[in-house]
């Protein structure tokens, strides 16, 4: 199957930077109502590098309960954005989001999203795109709750927020 690349299975079995840690500036809890997948995500920002998008993501910690795609995606998220500026993290999110919603047209740019390219196959399965975006939408929500203006960089965040896709 094109979907379950080795990298995804690897991340889902041994998620990077997993666990909820202190301190944190914001904590969010997102669910996928279709299947009940859940992620709790905490964000700690370092403002010594600047305010807003110039702040650095000092720590992103999380607890994910869900399918291999959603857990692996949270793992890649943590690995890709920790230690980077908010600006860089939002660019990574935008690239990841573009690939996942491309219906398979966008193979993903490894320079921009790292291990995220393993999720290119997910884009061909519309029902699973939400799984892959669960952690990322929680992340952008946590940024917003930390006082970062994310409106320009993530126009479609709200589509994937906590209760945007009721089902069942």
């Amino acid at each position: 199957m094109d979907l379950y690349r080795e990298l995804i299975l690897e991340h889902s079995k041994r998620p990077h930077r997993v666990g909820l840690r202190e301190p944190f500036a914001a904590e969010v809890h997102h669910v996928n109502p279709t299947c009940g997948d859940e992620v709790t995500l905490r964000l700690d920002l370092d403002a010594s590098t600047g305010e807003g998008e110039h702040a650095t993501i000092r720590d992103l910690s999380y607890d994910a309960l869900g399918c291999s795609i959603s857990v692996a995606s949270a793992s890649v998220l943590a690995a890709e954005v920790t230690g980077h500026s908010v600006r860089e993290a939002l660019d990574t999110y935008a690239a990841m989001h573009a690939m996942l919603t491309s219906k398979g047209q966008d193979p993903g740019d490894e320079d921009a999203i790292g291990d995220g390219v393993a999720f290119a196959g997910v884009a061909k399965y519309p029902a699973r795109v939400k799984c892959a975006l669960l952690g990322w939408s929680a992340f952008t929500d946590a940024l917003a709750r930390s006082g970062i203006d994310i409106s320009e960089t993530s126009p479609s965040t709200s589509r994937f927020s906590t209760h945007a896709t009721p089902k069942g």
């Binding site: 379950y4 299947c35 009940g36 699973r128 069942g168």
Partner: protein, 465 residues
């Protein structure tokens, strides 16, 4: 307990072939040319030609707004629509004036919940044209703080959320019957759960996840003794086993057309006529009135009182064609066939110790639904592997989230059958399932449950269909 009618046999190979030929979609392929193995009829069933043709014929020859106009098309449409109502009513042992068409079963259940809500807030339309309006009957729908609504932990959200909302609006208290570990209703404390404040008991006939067939008569008799009305969610029973509303003894029963080989967008609420008459209106507008002035309105008798707007005539006619189709197959044989498939699947899963079935262990206690868990692999991932092989199942919580919480699982994979399924499709499911451990690197040696234990249990509870 539902027993298979003596002598009823599963469909033979040639009968199955003929039945499958009646359903055009079963001929298509999915995922790069693989034959469709459709095991998701509990979500929605496919439609035979006779249903598609019945709908098409209505649009081609009789298309009209029924119950309106004096022209011939409307007369014909009205005749077909009302005749469909009679056919569907007879299928559940009811008469036509007790059957209300709704958008789906969810709307039917909401209709009853809103009857309580509206009665509690002075809604109009109660006591239509029945002679000697019975105030006591209308009073049964009035809820006040301290009154109780009893549901169960295995309900589909459609038979839970409307009652939660009703309680929120009226101040009534929601209580529920818990589950036993093997997925039955735990009726141990039923006598305590039912009090003189219990106004309504709402539960499912057959669980859409566990397949459990609930003891409707036992619960209904106790509920009635406590003075409560009984609402039955029959979505997973009417399509699969013979249902007679008089035999069940309930007060209301809701089911949908699309799970029963009928069209999407139509369901049925059956109710005792004296209760339907005593209930306030739900959706209001055209068709459901008697007289309208600027100051207020009076309402049509049941069932029109509950059918506001231009009715879904084509769907009703298709629904009736589906009922005729099932009747011709014979509900006793449909049940025998589906229990045969269920037993085959339970046997196949029992031979795989890394699979854990939820719900009662034998087919005789079940509807046509089997949900299971592969420990260590999320149901979404299991379903994806099956889908890749052309096997369509449902994954997730199946709109029964509290039930999954009670079972201690996040999600399950569910296979559900209809008359058109075959034992070959059970084998296809099992074959596809066998790909799961390798793909997700399951260590089968460390599977905690011993297969032999379960096999021994199954041997004790011999399946006979």
């Amino acid at each position: 307990m539902v027993a298979v009618v003596a002598g009823a046999e599963p469909f033979s190979g040639s009968e199955s072939t003929a039945i499958r030929a009646d359903f055009p979609i079963l001929g298509r392929t999915v995922r790069d040319g693989k034959p469709l193995v459709y095991l998701d009829s509990g979500a929605t069933s496919h439609k035979p030609w006779v249903v598609l043709e019945a709908e098409r014929e209505f649009y081609e020859k009789h298309n009209s707004a029924v119950h309106r106009g004096a022209h011939q098309l409307s007369e014909e449409g009205t005749e077909l629509y009302e005749s469909a109502r009679a056919t569907i009513a007879a299928f559940i042992g009811a008469t036509a004036d007790e059957v209300v068409f709704t958008k789906n079963a969810t709307e039917g259940l909401n209709l009853v919940a809103y009857a309580f809500s509206n009665a509690s807030h002075g809604g109009g339309g109660a006591r239509g044209r029945m002679p000697q309006p019975d105030d006591e009957m209308a009073a049964r729908f009035v809820l006040a703080p301290g009154d109780e609504v009893l549901v169960t932990e295995m309900e589909h959200h459609a038979n839970l959320v409307p009652w939660q909302e009703l309680c929120r609006r009226t101040g009534a208290t929601l209580r529920w019957i818990p589950l036993t570990p093997d997925g039955r209703l735990d009726l141990t404390d039923l006598d305590d759960l039912l009090t003189d404040r219990t106004k309504v008991v709402a539960f499912t006939h057959v669980s859409n996840v566990l397949g459990t067939i609930n003891p409707v008569r036992e619960i209904t008799e106790k509920a009635h003794a406590a003075g409560a009305l009984v609402v039955l969610d029959a979505c997973q029973s009417v399509p699969h086993l013979s249902v007679d509303v008089t035999e069940l003894g309930v007060d209301f029963l809701a089911f949908s057309g699309h799970k029963l080989f009928g069209p999407l967008g139509i369901g049925v609420l059956w109710g005792r006529p004296e209760l339907l008459d005593a209930m306030p209106t739900f959706l209001t507008g055209g068709s459901m009135i008697e007289t309208v002035t600027m100051e207020g309105s009076t309402y049509a008798p049941v069932p029109q009182k509950f059918e506001a707007g231009v009715p879904m005539a084509a769907q009703a006619i298709g629904f009736a064609a589906a009922v005729d189709y099932l009747t011709e197959l014979g509900m006793d044989r449909v049940l025998a066939h589906e229990q045969f498939l269920t037993a085959a699947l339970l046997d196949g899963l029992a031979a795989r110790p890394w699979v854990r079935v939820v719900g009662p262990p034998t087919a005789a206690e079940r509807g046509a639904t089997v949900a299971f868990v592969v420990d260590g692999v999320h149901a979404h991932d299991v379903g994806q592997v099956l889908d890749d092989q052309g096997v369509a199942v449902r994954v997730g919580h199946h709109c029964a989230w509290p039930l999954h919480r009670a079972l201690g699982v996040a999600a399950t994979t569910r296979a559900s059958f209809a008359a058109y399924n075959t034992v070959g499709e059970v084998d296809a499911l099992l074959g596809a399932l066998d790909l799961v451990p390798a793909i997700f690197g399951l260590d089968l040696d460390s599977v905690p449950r011993a297969a032999s234990d379960r096999q021994q249990q199954r041997d004790r509870e011999q399946v006979t269909v």
